[in-house]
Amino acid sequence: MKSVTKNIRKVLTCLVITTSFAAFSAITIANGEVGEHVNHLSDNIKKYEEEVNWLSTKVDGIVTTYQKSGAKAAHPDALMEHWEAVDFHAAIESNYVLIYASIWQGLYAVKGSIDEKSSIANVKAEQVKLERAFWQALGAVKMAAKFQDEGLLAKVKTTNEAPKNSIEALVIIDKNIHSVVAKYAEKLTDTATTMVHDTYLNLFEGVEGELITLDAKLVEDLEKDFNVTLPLAIKNNKSVDQVRDIVTAMSKKLTKAKMLLENKAKNKKDVF
């Protein structure tokens, strides 16, 4: 429990840092229906806690069944079904897609280790990582609830709005590429690839013309990331961690791009 608390603290710190950029941006399309509950997080924290406990019990039950009766009896596909059944799913996807991706990664790691008939020690090691991701996610949602209560968190919307300028576009781009990791972790490879392509063509392509006049090398790097590095990693079935590393590096470049455009905006000449 001590290490879980420590991890939650780490996540919360991370959340505070990322608030200034994209983690709590308003626009989110969840995997399926987004319930109105995501705009009333505090009212639903108790329910989310119950769901996390329920999920932990279910995961533990599957692992125990595997230990006693083998992979077929364990029915590891139920891991995903249980996860998709809870409201907490939308709460974390709407507010902190990075941990959302870790949960999917953890679900597939437990399932994969059972499917491959790994030793129970290996399966339990993956179970611990998944549990950690659940509790980190709950901590993140609690923090988001606090921000929401203080009016610092914009209302979650189920449709995207067009960005008004390149800086707003960069915020959406950053959020989208983190969602790519989540979709990849969900094993939705085609969705992840399409998301990369659409984010490039519909958003980044509109930003890079302005950005290239400020830092051509940065645009060249991001062009390569969008069109080669990231889609290739997905196509070649690299691990979720490897895809996340690419996205993290891209995110840093986007932060630099945002800074350059903000500086430019300060010195922009007037139209009239």
Binding site: G209, L214, E223, V271
Partner: protein, 350 residues
Amino acid sequence: MQRRAFIRSLSYIGIASAFPFLSTRSFAGSIDVISSHAISVNDLPELTGELTLYLGRGEGGLYEDVLNAIKKRNPNFTLRIRRGPTAALANTIMAEAKAGVRQADLFWAVDSGAIGQIVGAGLATPLPSDLTDQLHSKFRFNDWAPISGRIRTLPYNPERITADKIPDSIMALPDSNLSIAWAPAYASFQSFITAMRILEGDKATTQWLKAMNKKAKKYAGELGVVMAVERGEVDVGLANHYYTLRLKSGKPDAKLDLAFTKDDAGCLVNVSGVLALKESKTATDFIRYLLSKEVQTYLSGEAYEIPLVGKLSPPEGIPSLTEISPPTIDLTKLADLRPTLVLMRNAGVL
């Protein structure tokens, strides 16, 4: 015929002699092809009341800058904006009209094809001639006003090839020994193919696409094409002019020059444009602001677009339009994108 080089002169736009004839009114036969001057906002009436603008996404936040400046200058004017991809907004306007609703007063689109769709459906309101007369004569239309232009070009790497190796016919490009970059999924490219269909016919266009598909390297966007040329991955690319100018702005020693084909789709000049969907003095006056000297200069200076009003200079690094030879084509016909996409799919390009 092997000509061409990147012409750095900043000669003034003798635009009309080079451009296609597009409007019935522009057949005025005038030799005075350029309007005498661009009007300053200082000479425009104050905007009052409310308007709803459907704004096609493009040019980063530059269009937003223009709109904010107009709002700031006119405190008694309220502008509601709906933003989205140009094609999607055009479809929304069509759907609204079908339902008997007109929510937008104005539509500012990043390409003339979308404008053509609305004009073709008879939804645009005629503009007064004193407004359209500000535009170069070849860009005067009854129902809409072009705002700024962009030219299809062949960016090339001068360390790999010389200008005389580039054919001046776009149709001859696949038969050259050049390595080529293109971005077929890109909207401007598809407008260019539509122009080719109109000018050369479906059969010749299909053959061209198939031949190109065998040798061209595919990129997602046209800035990617230009960067590939600069890196020396290929000899030549197909892209709008401003990508080269922007890259050269951020990287002055970039190994890039521009070539132009002659009198074909490879040298198409496309435009962004605005139209009014309801009769309204405020809407008309709003368009006057977009055609003002200040806005035209701003879009040219910041986005490297070509001004289409008065005697304003093109962006540095682009030849005078009298020195290139765009094809004669009705830009509003570029709206007919569906057969282009079918043709591109059949040719195995998309």
